[in-house]
């Protein structure tokens, strides 16, 4: 089975994010004064083969712990898209 995993990697709340601060400054310069905070992160999309959903999820967890995120400074969230039982139609074959 082929699965699609979305991995969101973000700096831990205690870690300063100079890029986010700079982006916030840019938004303020454009007049978007209501923006209180911007945190920048990474978004990775993985397409992988696995026997089932559990295996896919645990493999992506392992990949994220080992390489995709650095636990010293980053948190992560994984969303797994699995094929629908019916085999799915156009673009509708995936559910979160």
């Amino acid at each position: 089975m082929t699965y699609r995993a979305e991995v969101f990697v973000t700096l831990k709340p205690v870690v300063n994010d100079p890029a986010g601060l700079t982006i916030k400054g840019g938004l303020h310069a454009l007049g978007f004064d209501s923006v209180r905070e911007v945190r920048a992160g990474k978004y990775l999309v993985l397409t992988l083969d696995a026997d089932d959903e559990d295996q896919a999820r645990s493999r992506v967890e392992e990949m994220t712990r080992q390489l995709l995120a650095n636990a010293v400074i980053e948190d992560y969230r994984i969303e797994l898209k699995v094929p629908s039982p019916s085999g799915g139609g156009q673009g509708g074959g995936l559910r979160t």
């Binding site: 300063n16 700079t22 010293v72």
Partner: protein, 233 residues
Amino acid sequence: MNTGIVVFPGTWSDRDCAHALSDVLGQPARYVDHREERLDDLDLVILPGGFSYGDYLRCGAIARFAPVMEAVTDFANRGGLVLGICNGFQILQEARLLPGALLRNASCEFRCEWVNLRVEQSESAFTLDCRPGQVLRIPISHGEGNFFADPQTLEAIERNGQVVFRYCAPDGRVTAESNPNGSLGNIAGIANAHGNVVGLMPHPERACEDLLGSTDGLALFRSAIHALDRVAV
């Protein structure tokens, strides 16, 4: 002192390191390919600066899994001398051979300039020839050198005397103005608990000749030579 200089795809300071070791100090040095698995012939391993694997994902994150890094880890754990410079420092942290992480500079700018470093301790293999409080003038060249560690780790590093270099004013005062990248505690370089592994953001290999504006970087390499002499005796 037999030195190995590790070359990853994207490493750029390897030749500067080789020049400092061989041409300036007259020490044998060879390049170590990132696929090599044996480092038995070496006394010192240098992970030089650059942009290994394009700095993709995080600086040092991919290099950390190159075949040579298993050998470097064994070498370090056996007490071998390891120096990580700039990107090499980032790789040592990704490999968990040194604590903490290096974030994007607080200014979001790439900083390429001369800095002053206060030597915090002369116990590490790379500061034996220095005295605590001594100020070294050495250049930096990085976009992600903003030292970070969680409060407990930072406290432990400080308590154990693992902070080796701090950014400072020319007179040795550690000030906010002399911090080029936002590093916690103005930390520019740290050692592992045994002092045989050191990582720093500044480039000592670029401060080894008067022609380049400073010879202060030699102190690190000469210290390593003396550290080996001390072990041999």
